[in-house]
């Protein structure tokens, strides 16, 4: 009986690996071992190739977009040569620039609000009664998971109902000189902040979990006030997560289509403009826009990575860098559902 055939089933308790039953099972058959090693090597190679294929799959559309943004021809059927005309014509498209301005404004304000409130709530959750924290956790998770279409519709209906009630009062109190509030960038910001604030919250809390508490305890033992402890010990450790959260909030808000579609009133954002373009038979300008956005985002993320890395070196174990990046990535792609 070779060792291979006698792998023990794991005990139901904590440790998944248990010593094998005593007996000749501990003798290793050399030939079987070599065969196993070879199978394992082939298997490993296959898995690596497979991973490479998956990455190729992930990048295929991106490559198409970038390549065709420089294509001189109009149609995707011909690759006629290098040209940057789509970039210049995109720049002179006033509707696009309008939408761009809206998107940037909305995303910036959303990022600021989400970062402040998300971080604040993460800090608060650390000190909450377990019941309250559980409730908050549920709210946070629901805010992240609720599909954009439900949020968009529900926010639209709620805001107009609320404004129907609010506007007459505003007019009453200000003697009729207040502007009639309506759907617009404000309602988009409200809905975007809801979601992104939850993401920042998750990121900061994850970071807090991995944080070295002993530093905080030491600071308290040394009679530092809570405020000083926060400013000099806690906050610096959280900065990478906060910065990552801010960038994610910005990117999500900029990229969102479905929520903006319902709540934006008359203001167009870039995704709304893109959607309309796609449906009408898009010009390759769209590819140019996408490439620029991609380049900007990559730059921002590289920047965030550098800041994050530096924060890591100063504060905690470095092994978690990739892990936290993964968490950030999850949060990001959760938002990027169109």
């Amino acid at each position: 009986m070779t060792a291979q055939a006698s792998v023990p089933t794991p005990a139901p308790a904590t440790s998944p690996v248990r010593a094998p039953a005593p007996g000749p099972g501990l003798l290793v058959d050399v030939r079987a071992g070599k065969r196993a090693a070879r199978i394992e090597r082939i298997g490993e190679r296959l898995v690596f190739v497979y991973t490479g294929l998956v990455f190729a799959f992930l990048f295929l559309p991106i490559v198409i977009v970038v390549v065709y943004s420089f294509n001189a021809g109009r149609h995707v059927t011909e690759l006629t040569g290098f040209s940057s005309q789509w970039y210049t014509s995109a720049w002179s498209d006033r509707f696009l620039m309008n939408a761009l301005r809206n998107s940037l404004t909305i995303a910036a304000i959303t990022a600021v609000l989400a970062t402040i409130m998300g971080t604040a709530s993460a800090l608060a959750m650390d000190r909450m009664w377990p019941r309250a924290r559980a409730l908050f956790e549920l709210l946070t998770y629901v805010a992240i998971i609720v599909p954009g279409i439900v949020i968009g519709i529900a926010t639209l209906i709620f805001i107009v109902t609320a404004l129907d009630w609010l506007n007459p009062w505003l007019a009453f109190f200000t003697g009729g000189s207040s502007p009639d509030l309506g759907l617009g960038a404000g309602s988009v910001i409200a809905a975007h902040t809801l979601f992104t604030m939850a993401i920042v919250n998750v990121l900061v809390r994850t970071r807090m979990r991995g944080m070295d508490r002993s530093l905080i305890e030491a600071s308290e033992d040394l009679y530092a006030t809570p405020w000083r402890t926060f400013v000099q010990v806690t906050f610096p450790q959280l900065v990478p997560a906060i910065v990552a959260g801010a960038l994610l909030a910005f990117t999500f808000s900029f990229d969102d289509f479905i929520i903006a579609f319902f709540t934006s009133g008359q203001d167009q954002t870039v995704p709304i403009y893109l959607f309309a373009s796609i449906r009408r038979g898009v010009s390759p300008e769209v590819n140019a826009i996408a490439t620029v956005l991609l380049a900007v985002t990559i730059l921002a993320m590289v920047l965030a990575g550098v800041v994050y890395r530096r924060g890591q070196r100063r504060s905690g174990p470095s092994a978690a860098v990739a892990g936290d990046a993964a968490v950030a990535g999850v949060a990001m792609t959760t938002g990027d559902r169109g």
Partner: protein, 391 residues
């Protein structure tokens, strides 16, 4: 070629119109040229600010009591940007154009309220319901001094959906017809019956119907010999059965008619006038046919939202855009026929004589307007949802 950056042009809307009509540059060319010239001005003037609060105007000639923004809810490629820019130049009111794919989408915003929309361009069948629910206001003709009823085509004025035009003034009208690429479709398609038959058999996987209950369900009803507007349960059941059986054989149910037709992903398609014309302009073999056995005739009209925040600007705009010169420029741009006869006279000859844009009267006789009862019929809506949900 005239320098589009000539500053005089910005202050002389008439000159622009004459130039547009006389030159007939490609739309794209003109857009870019006009855009570059007026870009700076328009960009500065057209600054939308959050929650619809007031911004600053950089245009000369001052906003005055018209304000500085106007929100227009309309269709894609429906307005000549040069015409809109000329309005902005002379009044200082920047026009914020919101583009919608369907009347239903416009209604979603208008009905929700507080949408900030001033002027909205719905299709005829929605107007009755909007009036009943006070979503649009009765037009104040006193503020439209340039409106001369006599100039307008009687076929499109004073219709059942808005008797006396109390709430709406037509902009463009058009038809729902069959667009096909004759290089791939060897038959000459003349009727809806033919269309639906071919879509399910010879050209399986190459046909498209629009995601619009009235146009698609209605045309299918016509193909089976019923009225476009039928809400009779037995008839609707038959149409539903036909469409449900057809659906797996279609290329798509989508209102984005042009991209697949241009790419030859679809060879035949339900389409609207403008689609037919635009594809036809770029492709020799594209045909647009008004069916012999009937079909939909529609009108898109200007209306003013009841809760419009910029009413004065709205009326100033309407007064301007409804004049024949502007109407003609718009027609030349979007290639949809205009309901103003004077405008039709001013339009370039090749547009006026284009039978796709201006079908002969006998072709129009077979067509019907979609009615509000059909638009709002829950049974029609459910039937359509069931078709879309079917396997």
């Amino acid at each position: 070629m005239t320098n589009r950056r000539d500053p005089d042009l910005r202050r002389d809307p008439e000159a622009i119109m004459r130039l547009a009509i006389a030159r007939r540059l490609s739309r794209r060319h003109f857009l870019v040229a006009a855009g570059t010239g007026m870009g700076a001005l328009a960009l500065a003037a057209c600054a939308p600010t959050p929650a619809g609060t007031a911004g600053t105007s950089a245009a000369p000639g001052g906003g005055g009591d018209l304000g500085d923004t106007l929100n227009l809810a309309t269709w894609p490629n429906y307005h000549d940007q040069a015409v809109l820019d000329a309005f902005t130049a002379s009044t200082g009111v920047a026009i914020n154009v919101g583009v919608y794919g369907s009347t239903e989408e416009m209604e979603a915003k208008i009905r929700a309220g507080n949408s900030g929309i001033d002027v909205v361009v719905p299709s005829n069948y929605a107007i009755e319901g909007w009036v009943a629910d006070s979503l649009i206001e009765p037009l104040d003709y006193a503020q439209l001094p340039n409106f001369k009823k006599a100039d307008w085509n009687a076929t499109f004025m004073d219709q059942a959906f808005d008797k006396g035009n109390t709430h709406s003034i037509p902009k463009n009208w058009g038809t729902t017809g069959i667009a096909y690429r004759s290089s791939k479709v060897t038959e000459e398609i003349k009727t809806w019956e033919q269309f639906f038959d071919l879509a399910g058999t010879t050209y399986e996987g190459k046909a498209l119907i629009v995601d619009h209950q009235i146009s698609s369900f209605g045309s299918a009803a016509v193909a089976m010999g019923y009225s476009l507007n039928t809400i009779d349960p037995t008839e609707m059941e038959a149409v539903e059965a036909m469409l449900t059986a057809l659906k797996p054989k279609l290329f798509a149910i989508s209102s984005d008619v042009q991209p697949p037709l241009r790419a030859l992903d679809t060879w035949l398609s339900v389409a609207w006038t403008g689609d037919g014309v635009q594809v036809g302009r770029d492709n020799e073999d594209a045909r647009y046919v008004v069916a012999d056995d009937g079909g939909e005739l529609w009108i898109d009209s200007y209306t003013v939202a009841a809760d419009a925040p910029h009413k004065a600007a709205a009326y100033a705009f309407l007064d301007y855009i409804l004049q024949p010169e502007q109407a003609a420029a718009e027609t030349e741009f979007c290639l949809f026929p205009h309901a103003n006869d004077k405008a039709t006279e001013l339009v370039a000859e090749d547009v006026r004589t284009n039978e796709v844009i201006y079908p002969p009267a006998d072709k129009l006789a077979a067509l019907e307007y979609a009615v509000n009862a059909t638009y709002n019929s829950p049974e029609r809506a459910e039937a359509w949802a069931r078709i879309k949900a079917s396997a």
